[in-house]
Symmetry: D3
Subunit: 223 residues, 6 copies
């Protein structure tokens, strides 16, 4: 504990922006249904859809000191990702830290703990995915680490991994896989487009996906 | 397991629409305070207010295959209602299935599990009441059943029962009781209207409902 | 049980309104990080920001009778605060009670249980912070008390204490401390204003708060 | 509400006792993996293993009056099963009611709420499966019903259905299916016995169940 | 914050021991169904039944420093009661602190957080009622207070109040009421004794408590 | 997905056994307060205290097929560790699998899901730490992986890491650190031994750890 890693590698910016456009559900599917953070992380307001490189934070319960150290490491387009070292719902982050992070180009925060000043954050258009909204203040007494590997809401995240977040939740893509996952996401979207048109026209998934035979073979009966 | 019931009876369409207009709280009261689904089911966006005939789905955890079979059974004005056979928060339902269901006239989905693509569903005006928003993908490997009796979020539901859902949650009305419940709901609304006016004018419930004597008799004291 | 206290003391109206403007997070900090109610209490719609004197209610589970007794005690600018005597998520409060309370000048409700008719309450602009949205009806069978000390969502509240509630949750300020807390809240806001400007300009909290030396002394290393 | 059904049909006593001996996991499997109550119901002490005919109780939250009415309906070998009409963890049942129920031949209690006096109940050898242990007292103010269909912890139960309960939880068997389920449970046990011996000798499930080919066909690789 | 109150008043030792013998459920009833701590507090082993004077601790999340200050304040027969200032399940207390507390005559710990070394504590016969068992270590960095009023698991507790704890949970009795509550508890026990004998003989509560008329009057029907 | 790694490295057997003797709380402290699994994992019976090399399993929700593949990989002294790919409380593991695992030398199971046949497992002395006890049956339809890195109950685990489990919960020690952590654990125990004796004799932690000055300096006051 007590370490700030200052040089991390990031994925290509265009790849990152492509993943944001694809969204969490598509990216999750495209990479083989891995990388989702737990559903307890919810956005503080609807409609945000971002992706960025993870600046990771491992912080003690109720102690937000390391966020200040992390903000210095933020580059344009990054996302802060905080995991407490034991469960906490304290409000680690509010409008002052958001002002600072946003000034450095930070696109948002993912935190397996609490956040506060959510009205201000909403007005600032600074999105946060959190476990709780809670005004409980935190202290600055104990060291944590920045840009070390963390487990956040059940997902293993390395600094520089790509975080994708929208109304469906949060997903992580390993940095090295980002371009490949984007390609697969786009292929998936293209494929879905034609399906969507047929379904909208009233065709059934049972027919489009040719399921009737398989279901019958497994013993599905109609009464 | 592995059965699709293709002929179900439905309540009268006008009765169903009347129940939608009355709303969950009034309908629940009108039928004697029964039929509510658990409060963990929440709408993915505010403002939707629907009623429809239940097309029920019993599905394995993390397996959404039977939704495709259920969509074929949907008629104009129906609502899909899914109960997993063991607790799950996986995202059984997204924008493609919603496109298909909406094309068949489906008014919405009630699911004691997860949903995804909620931004798309919101834009499509396809309401969902769910236990979670979670992008986790599901598989198509095991049979379930359609239009069999289920227990969803603590309520027993038969296919063809009337589902009422709004910002207060979800309520089920037995098909055979629907017309009677609607009549009682309307009577209740009429009665409430006059009460509302008196309360808005500053009269107290203590006086309107003649409670002071009963409270005093039970021993309520004023200091 | 079974007592209504009819004379309670309230804080100064201008102080109360000042606390509403300061908001929950600032007030909580200003009074030394005490007085927060548990994060399970959430607003039924975003954007409300109120403060008022607490009219407290201790009520049996699933029995809302005492709310009627409490409404009579409401004065312009008060907030109803209900704690059930054992855990409940039943819908104690709906649009009729809100109509009555609003007619008496009540600014909102804080309840460690359920609420219903949330669509109507939203249209009425009557804010509620609750543990659940649940249409489940309640009865009127057993006495409780009004304006007695209660523990609501983990916070001890006396009648006449100042309740502050916004999108961050709910905080209680002891009546006698209200003016002092407001003064501290304003000082805090003034101090934050200059910090916000510097942070927005890209200065780091590490420098503004002079943290680098302390962090180094505790052993923080940079790699 | 407010109904006591006095004549219910019960399954054969020997069948019931056979189901108790088979236990919850085997019975659940034997009847096709249905009928389990939610895992939140836990025994107050380990080691109890019972089965009996359900005497069902639908009771208001925090009101245990109907348990007295239900005890009168208990016959030798029955099990009381209580579902509150809205979520509650109050202590509906303690040593006096257990004394009364045990005197009537009741084998135990299944309750989706709280229980108290658990030390006494343990000493009396009166097993209870409950959602909570909580001393909170209940009242006797409102009617409920006895021997009506209920949903308890997610399972639909009719009076006279067979309840099986042990350290794994609680399962319901429809009365009409009881003999058939017992036969299947015994067949399952016999089949498992030979498997157990082979597994204990070190043979692998991969071989006994002939899984290697299927796994390879699905693409499982060994590195 | 940061205060240790060194002189507190305690209830009479014989009264305290009498309350321990009566147990949580009886004491809770005897004082009018108040004073219970939330059901999430569970004993680390079954069978303990204690009462003692509360030495209260308000501690930051994940910081157990003040327990050391509290142990100095413990007198023979006291019980430590800890409430964190925000939710925590960290392991504040283990075998070393228990050794120290036990050496000072402490009878047990009630904590709305976590505990560890539960095997050792069990062997030492040092009972703990906690929200969680969790080995997570805590720090000693921030002040809290000892023997100040706290809210612990939903109950307001003053230093010197009597804590009663057994397998049913934890209850607090205000110091000034202790003797009176004990008297009522004994009266209740005496009354229950005769009831228990009649119930054990097969008499029904419906008859003993003369409920049949009241139930019929409310409309209970038998079919 | 769909991969079984057949060669994993394990820590030294004596080191592993030493860690078991030290126990979870000491090992967690000795390695710098890292590696704990979430407190929701609880032992199915008290008193077990084991350590072993992790054979990891990533399995779909409600599908236990890969446990069979994992058992083949078990060597004397190993521990099975299962993480579902989405939240599940189904009963993946029962007495037959335990018989098989035990025959191969497996010391126990850690599973972030459910377990069943707990009475049999207790009699077999096969310990399990799980999120739930639930009889719900699972299927064998979809591949997972064995001996790949997993996140189980919030902790990142590689195959061959040392798992330590006792009544306090579960902790993971990276394989490469095991010997070093054991040395530190023993040093810690030795240090604690002398502290324990002094505390048992009535000395205070305030004095033994020389805390009085630090507390006073931070402003702690005695009244």
């Amino acid at each position: 504990m007590g370490k700030v890693v200052t040089t991390i590698q990031r994925a290509n910016r265009e790849v990152i922006d492509g993943l944001a456009a694809a969204g969490v559900a598509t990216v999750h599917e495209a990479q083989g249904r891995i990388g989702l953070l737990a559903s307890r992380l919810r956005p503080i307001y609807p409609g945000a859809r971002i992706a960025g490189s993870a600046v990771t934070i491992s912080a003690p319960p109720g102690d937000n000191w390391m966020i200040h150290a992390a903000v210095e490491q933020v580059q344009e387009g990054d996302i802060l990702v905080l995991a407490p070292t034991s469960p906490s719902e304290d409000g680690y982050f509010g409008d002052l830290l958001a002002t600072s992070a946003q000034a450095r180009g930070c696109r948002g925060l993912v935190i397996d703990a609490g956040v506060r000043d959510v009205r201000d954050l909403t007005q600032m258009n600074f999105p946060v995915w959190s476990k709780a909204v809670f005004a409980q203040g935190t202290i600055k007494a104990t060291l944590g680490s920045v840009n070390v590997p963390i487990v956040c809401a059940g997902a293993h995240i390395d600094a520089g991994d790509v975080i994708v977040a929208d109304d469906d939740g949060v997903c992580v893509v390993k940095r090295a896989d980002a371009a490949d996952v984007l390609a697969k996401a786009r292929a998936r979207e293209a494929n879905e487009e034609s399906k969507r048109a047929r379904l909208a026209a009233g065709e059934l998934g049972l027919d489009i996906y040719d399921m009737r035979g398989k279901l019958a073979k497994l013993g599905l009966t109609y009464e």
